[in-house]
Symmetry: C2
DNA sequence: GTTGTAAAGATAATGATTCTTATTTAGGAA
DNA sequence: TTCCTAAATAAGAATCATTATCTTTACAAC
């Protein structure tokens, strides 16, 4: 997994630096779709000299190279998701909590639907559900 | 429709001001999910003295009172949608274009699916699809 | 070692959004 | 209609996430 990350960086001709490793690990550990601020705070404990600009730049690169993705929200702060497989998001209606939701059966159902029911003048590349609601426990589920 | 808007404001105990009317009309006219900036630019032609802060405050109030909704995007600029019925969004992969997509049959399909397949520890309130892809014509469809 | 280049650090700049304060206005009551 | 008052607006300062700039560092190629 960590190796996977290194390989992917190198495949793109990008250097594997301690900062990049730390940022990627931070996103994995902070598994609730962290903001840049969350990531910086997390990294600062082990890596006090990291620069804010570096974090943003590295995040942009990761997104561009599809190592992570940005999560769409109604807030003006960006959030990041290290998870790349086709999945959906559960948004808490009351808090900032966002969880990933995987459901292959649902994906197939939707894919089949759109195979039969094309959208006029639009070629679908990706479909993601935003599911808003309430978590029954406030505690974050452990992975 | 305009009356509807006035009534809704008054029902909430809010005053019907020229600014609020202008902002609401702007969002309706600029029917591609405008940013605050778009709205300000549009209004400035007829209403040159409107204040930027007012526009933001009024937009917040509209969202809070559910007269409009914010559209989730991966960008740090907020966009607004005057359309309230349950609908989805088509995001252009290359441009900033966002279109509404209504599909009652799809909504039912998904609703049925989740009736049978509950999400553990989560109570669904709303489901919106983010459909990313490419429009076959660059021209905005006329309503 | 020197050179070249990508990356990181530090910090200034930007720009969307929010806040503050004084002034104006909508809309109800007199 | 006029008056009153809370609510709303205007103007501009402040905030804060993000971006840009410029310098320094790391490291590979020569």
């Amino acid at each position: 997994m960590a190796t996977d990350f290194r390989n992917k960086l190198q495949a793109e001709g990008l250097k594997v630096t301690p900062q990049r490793v730390a940022i990627f690990e931070a996103i994995l550990r902070l598994n609730n779709h962290p903001t840049a601020e969350d990531i910086i705070a997390f990294i600062k404990t082990n890596h006090p000299n990291i620069s804010v600009g570096t974090v943003y730049k590295v995040l942009d690169i990761f997104v561009e190279k599809k190592l992570i993705q940005k999560v769409k929200t109604e807030k003006d702060v960006m959030r990041y998701d290290p998870f790349l497989s086709n999945h959906h998001h559960l948004y808490c209606a009351n808090t900032e909590r966002i969880e990933d939701y995987e459901d292959e059966k649902l994906n197939q159902l939707i894919a089949e639907y759109f195979k039969k029911n094309k959208i006029k003048n639009f070629k679908i590349q990706d479909i993601t559900l935003q599911i808003t609601g309430k978590f029954s426990s406030q505690n974050k589920s452990k992975k």
